[in-house]
Symmetry: D2
Amino acid sequence: MIIVLKNGTSMEEVAKITNMLEKFDVKVNPIVGESTTILGLVGDTSSLDIGSLYFNENVEKIMKVQEPYKKSNRKMHPQDTVININGVEIGGKRLTIMAGPCSVEGEEQIVGIAKYVKEQGARILRGGAWKPRTSPYAFQGLKADGLKLLNKAKTQTQMPIISEITNPAHIEMFMDMVDIFQVGARNMQNFEILKELGKTNKPVLIKRGFANTYEELLMSAEYVMSGGNEEVILCERGIRTSENYTRNTLDISAIPALKKLSHLPVIVDPSHAAGLHWMVEPLSMAAIAAGADGLILEVHNDPKNALCDGAQSLTYKSFKRTMEKLRLIANAVDREI
Amino acid sequence: MIIVLKNGTSMEEVAKITNMLEKFDVKVNPIVGESTTILGLVGDTSSLDIGSLYFNENVEKIMKVQEPYKKSNRKMHPQDTVININGVEIGGKRLTIMAGPCSVEGEEQIVGIAKYVKEQGARILRGGAWKPRTSPYAFQGLKADGLKLLNKAKTQTQMPIISEITNPAHIEMFMDMVDIFQVGARNMQNFEILKELGKTNKPVLIKRGFANTYEELLMSAEYVMSGGNEEVILCERGIRTSENYTRNTLDISAIPALKKLSHLPVIVDPSHAAGLHWMVEPLSMAAIAAGADGLILEVHNDPKNALCDGAQSLTYKSFKRTMEKLRLIANAVDREI
Amino acid sequence: MIIVLKNGTSMEEVAKITNMLEKFDVKVNPIVGESTTILGLVGDTSSLDIGSLYFNENVEKIMKVQEPYKKSNRKMHPQDTVININGVEIGGKRLTIMAGPCSVEGEEQIVGIAKYVKEQGARILRGGAWKPRTSPYAFQGLKADGLKLLNKAKTQTQMPIISEITNPAHIEMFMDMVDIFQVGARNMQNFEILKELGKTNKPVLIKRGFANTYEELLMSAEYVMSGGNEEVILCERGIRTSENYTRNTLDISAIPALKKLSHLPVIVDPSHAAGLHWMVEPLSMAAIAAGADGLILEVHNDPKNALCDGAQSLTYKSFKRTMEKLRLIANAVDREI
Amino acid sequence: MIIVLKNGTSMEEVAKITNMLEKFDVKVNPIVGESTTILGLVGDTSSLDIGSLYFNENVEKIMKVQEPYKKSNRKMHPQDTVININGVEIGGKRLTIMAGPCSVEGEEQIVGIAKYVKEQGARILRGGAWKPRTSPYAFQGLKADGLKLLNKAKTQTQMPIISEITNPAHIEMFMDMVDIFQVGARNMQNFEILKELGKTNKPVLIKRGFANTYEELLMSAEYVMSGGNEEVILCERGIRTSENYTRNTLDISAIPALKKLSHLPVIVDPSHAAGLHWMVEPLSMAAIAAGADGLILEVHNDPKNALCDGAQSLTYKSFKRTMEKLRLIANAVDREI
């Protein structure tokens, strides 16, 4: 940590601050410039409250040198993490395509979609049971019935299931019913859920909140990992910007950035990012080209009559074509589907 | 709702879409221009799924005409809502100053601060018991003990208490311990909490998420109100932008905008918006000048040693001076403190 | 255009507004709902001032139905525009790689780089002569001498030249010295330059401003095209967001969006978007996968000693490797380099 | 400047980098931590190219300690700058209200408005002659004729004139016709204009670009000041965010921030920020309460028929009422109008 002192701070004051800081077991190295003095702190600075330091009238600004995330940090774990769910790997050479409807709507629907997407190469089945909707007047999901229907599809296809958790009280039920917990963008900083998920032994996919930084996403991973569960999957799904032609702006740079900062797998959700079904294909291709470990895609058998988010769902026909194109891209980047 | 059709859509296609839409009990008025045909829909369009309509190959775009929020909409309730908590009003002529520490840290601290801020004119005591922190390694609050300490301060000062709820499982305990539920920015779209709060009979202050729109804030109010609890307080606390000198950018326009769109009281939190203690005073003055119904301010007896967010806390001395300046502004806008 | 009237507007008022509007030669179709009346306007609404309409006390809001851009609109020109510069095409099947240093620094440097990038497959030489720098104390470019050096490199390599124009007074000189005018992000809405470029007969590449929308970018293209010069190239180079790990956030969705809205070629600048040299390769691959018609890349013979923006420049070695990877991606999307 | 080295950099490498840096006449202080070594640089680091340093394979990151702006920095000039234009002060105790139409439209209009706003307390007349418009098809201003009409209004009212400059070629003409050069938000980083204005001796008001930081605004001021013209006025006019109820988001924090960082006067433009006439009054009041030195307001005699931006113009009646309210706020903050 670096503390920049205000111009004109006397040597006496520098000594006082140094004494105060050394009580926290950090070593202080003053660097005295012509007009500015800075203090370089060595040691474990995590017990220092940065906010409080600002109350010292000689402090101009404070700059952190080290990343606050530890377990998710690639520096601590140079090799890529590969998560294995009954033989389906996430983070390895083979790309992981997760596909399925926004909402589970009925048995025929979910089983039909599961079979179709598996045939085309998807390896994990997604489907919403509890749906966080902006409006209280919109369809809220089939809830526990939705999870049961997902399991019927699983029985018939052997595909592991991912579904969104929205309440810590549901975790126990989800433990029996899903293979991957999905934490949605709106809950990325729902620390009550994250802490509880840290105590489970199932993989957790965390979607980046739509105004959260890479560092904050990694700190949310840290909540789960510091609880003991190190199987975390990062998911980029677009951020809010001043452009609103698309629902959100897919931040393609998040892929190489997160892969550099962390060893965790990175999945991309182009469906929610764009909110436009015809844009899912090019964004999916871009994500794989940029190094993503997989995709989570909305596919619906009948998007015109979907109970939610039809606008962004692929049809069977467009999913098939997208998968064909993705195979070509995967091949170009030395991955496979 | 307006549906804009693609150039060149035939009259036959227009008739088909019209027939389809009329099955949803809306009346369709086509307006045929030289190159573009638009359909004006009259009636209750809430059962139409906009997303699905986009799958119709003749649809170019869809534009909503009416606000999706109902109970929070000023059109449905032209007079200002005034909430009364044991004689303390929020939304009336008298401004409501809520003050207290970021975190409750101990009995002496919270009772001392409560007495001090009451003396200076604050009428509601704020204090965090469960603290949502970006880092799992940071202080997480005193939890239930914090609520108990707040109640000791209440006994001695008669000030109603506001504290943040972060888990639906805590609502029952909070019901006995707080007078106003605070929903933090990170939980603005935690619909599981909002739905449960809709079943209680205590006021709920909802902070705007740092990338949420006015409409989304009002939709979150709608979650509480549609559940039966109409005592909702809106709180502006800054949004994320590309400027990062301040922690967030206080959106001062939110005050006149929310007062126009809704009848609910609007409170401003300049402490969390700026993240800089010396900026709290000018932002507080600006908020009152722009028409806010009150403020929620962090005040600490010893900010240099605060367990969280010292950087943004007012000291006793600066709180006192700020209150003096706020009285002058209140007077200038025909309000009082 | 749609005008939404306030609830409770009387039929008499509706008639008055209709009369007023019909003076502007538009046909007004009123649609009367239970609580809301809307007016659908047919005809050329471009003479109506939207701002002024808001002063009518019965107007709630106004919604535009049609895109304001005409010549750049794909609806008016369904086929892709292909621009040909001495045999080098932009917008056709073959991708166009523009490469070169941020700044022209000397003859040996620019000729050397030009030869190298040409060998690797670049087809247009970029190089800054006038450099817009945030700081007045930073290197401002070699100016006219820079243009002369670029032409020496052109003589030796036959590569067309692109360089940035920052002042309308320089256009005449540039006419003799460059093959493509580059309008930088900061000048995207420098309408004085755009209008003058509209009178020339050389292609103009317009970079999207870092907070501008797709529509505004197309309106800037419209400034050039409405002046008579239809050879415009659109360039995505990142927008400002709340993430600042990268200098800007490359908006990958801009590629499919702009290709859908417009017939103009779309080029991507990953160097300025990311500001991080190691991120240029994955972003370049993503851009081509998403459908870009080409790239503009910074390449420097000695980035450690570059006079500007070394942090984002590719070395010869990394440019070569990037080009190899791009060939594989190009092949996967049925393009070539 | 602080250079953070990668974990595991050997002492030998540290010595090499230190030698390299010392060639630039800076003194290097290494601080060796357990896993990380940082280098604290003392001396004039402005000759170091940060970008190039990133190419050193041992460099992890670089952090700037000092502000890059000098002449606009309050540290170099602790007292407020007060600019005097024929007796009208900007930056002193008395607030400066600049008012007038978006565009000059005719003699009767501009003279009438000038007289009216002067009567109500405005002290500077604003009026656009060259109008930068997003669309080439929109009204572009009366140009030189507009300046002449402004001068007729000046003759009759003695009010100094401010008008927007959009082309360096116009500066000579403007020198004879305006008292303050206005640089619009879109031209905040039009360095060609700024450099030329630095050679003049007339005050320059620079509007913050809608995605620019405080630091960048001050660097634009620096362009003018380093050229020799120290009479610069800063203007906050809103930034782009994900909220689009208002045209832009007025950044009220910019006022205390800019006053702290710089000694230059700060003016606020609530008309362009909000884009909504009914919001100008509360935002104006907030700006003065937060410490602004004045306002620039659009006022029109007949906004329903204004040639541009009617939506944000005050009428005579609303301007009069706003001025009355502003007097009360000014009084509350110990200023006057």
